[in-house]
């Protein structure tokens, strides 16, 4: 059989629908995992042993087990304890939890590179610890963490495809249906390959833009005598 994209293009509305859901899930997960990541990172550096250990355990477990296993655990397990939600919500939650673990490590690394002298300066003026973190440490740490976080978010977008295995009608889910209907899996999945590449390109572009914006005047430039 020769390659024929016609059948696939005829279904583009359906594909775009799936794309829409993918984007929604991605945005929601990016936001959730970002906030959660900051929280867990702060727990990781907290002087309280239980917080410290719990956060460490969470990170260790979620980074060393497959996302698919985590997803199935939540999808099949949650109804057993009485929490019944639709696959989209479950999927978004599972995804956020998984990515947040990685984010926490990235953000923690960012926090650790903040110049100790700068933190001391803030403390020396009497700033409360909460404010030291809110106004000085986190703004600097997050700037450092921006690129690695961007990488993690690109990965997140790609991982949304796994949600199709729990009946989510995202881009991948719909593509599977189209492939079954049109008997043209090659064309469908090739289109998908390119579609996901385009999505990651957009996410990377946003990250680069944010990086340029935040760093345009903060990075060391050759100094003229001033």
């Amino acid at each position: 059989m020769e390659v024929d994209f016609g059948a696939v293009l005829a279904q583009r509305a359906y594909l775009l629908q799936g794309l829409g859901l993918t984007i929604e899930i991605s945005l929601a997960s990016i936001l959730l995992s970002f906030v959660l990541g900051i929280g867990v990172a702060l727990c990781r550096i907290a002087p309280l042993r239980p917080l410290h250990s719990l956060a460490g355990l969470y990170i260790d477990v979620f980074r060393n087990t497959p996302f698919l296993v985590q997803l199935f655990f939540f999808y099949y397990g949650l109804p057993e304890i009485g929490i019944s939600t639709n696959p989209v919500v479950t999927g978004t939650l599972a995804l956020s939890l998984a990515v947040a673990a990685g984010n926490a490590e990235i953000i923690r690394a960012g926090i650790e590179t903040v110049d100790a002298g700068v933190i001391q300066a803030a403390r020396s003026f009497g700033l409360a610890t909460f404010n030291v973190y809110r106004l000085v440490v986190l703004p600097i740490a997050l700037r450092t963490a921006l690129r690695p976080l961007g990488s993690a978010f690109v990965n997140l977008v790609l991982t949304t495809s796994v949600l199709s295995s729990i009946t989510v009608n995202d881009l991948m889910g719909n593509a599977v249906n189209i492939a079954a209907d049109t008997f043209r899996p090659f064309e469908v999945y090739l289109v998908l390959l390119i579609a996901y590449c385009a999505m990651t390109f957009v996410v990377s572009g946003c990250v680069n833009g944010a990086h340029a914006l935040l760093y345009s005047r903060l990075s060391e430039r050759p100094q003229l005598q001033g």
């Binding site: 390659v3 477990v61 996302f67 199935f72 057993e80 991982t159 593509a175 899996p185 999945y189 090739l190």
Partner: protein, 228 residues
Amino acid sequence: MNLYQYTAFVPHDAMLIWNGFLWTFGIFASSTVLGSLLGFLLALLLHARVPILAWLVAGFVELFRNSPLLVQLFLVFYGLPVVTSFSPSATEAAILTMTVNTAAFMVVIVVAALDAVPRGQWHAAISSGMGYPQVMRLVVLPQAVRTVIPPAIVLAVGQLQTSSLVSIIGVNELARAGTILNNRTLRPFIVWPVIGLIYFVMAKLLSHFAARVERRVRARITWFAPAT
């Protein structure tokens, strides 16, 4: 008919899991080794700026790094048999796709390691008359090895987790064993933590083993100046 008999765990399930583990390990190990080799070779093509081929490699890398493994899997397993005469079995498709996927990520790691070797090394070697292959073999690669290992370990651990996706096209590995057990016993709170634990232990063992190898490599490379 006593339904409960069907939904309980049986001793044979241990065999199912053990089998799954072996297959996961096999698929992971083979695809990682092959993928690393392939990635290394492609990285050389890219780094040496071989005309046309370098661009193809670059394009290939971008395509396979920026798309989901699942889509790649489906493309190979469901898509190729329809437009070509190539009809891989699920396992073959799994190993092939993971190899290619791993290779794409390895290319980036290797190129970064090569770039990390100071330009001065090239200049020194070339000005003494050595050709590209010699420079690579004798000067650059030995220095690049040290930089390659840590990110390669991270990639490997990641690919171990990602290999679970091949269960979706029916490969009888560990995650699939979990699916089978889960669907039969309907006990997700036992099945998935157990499966997850096995992956966890595998990942930890891999990390520790790899770290030991890295330490041995470092110990042998005593002449290396600390990287900034």
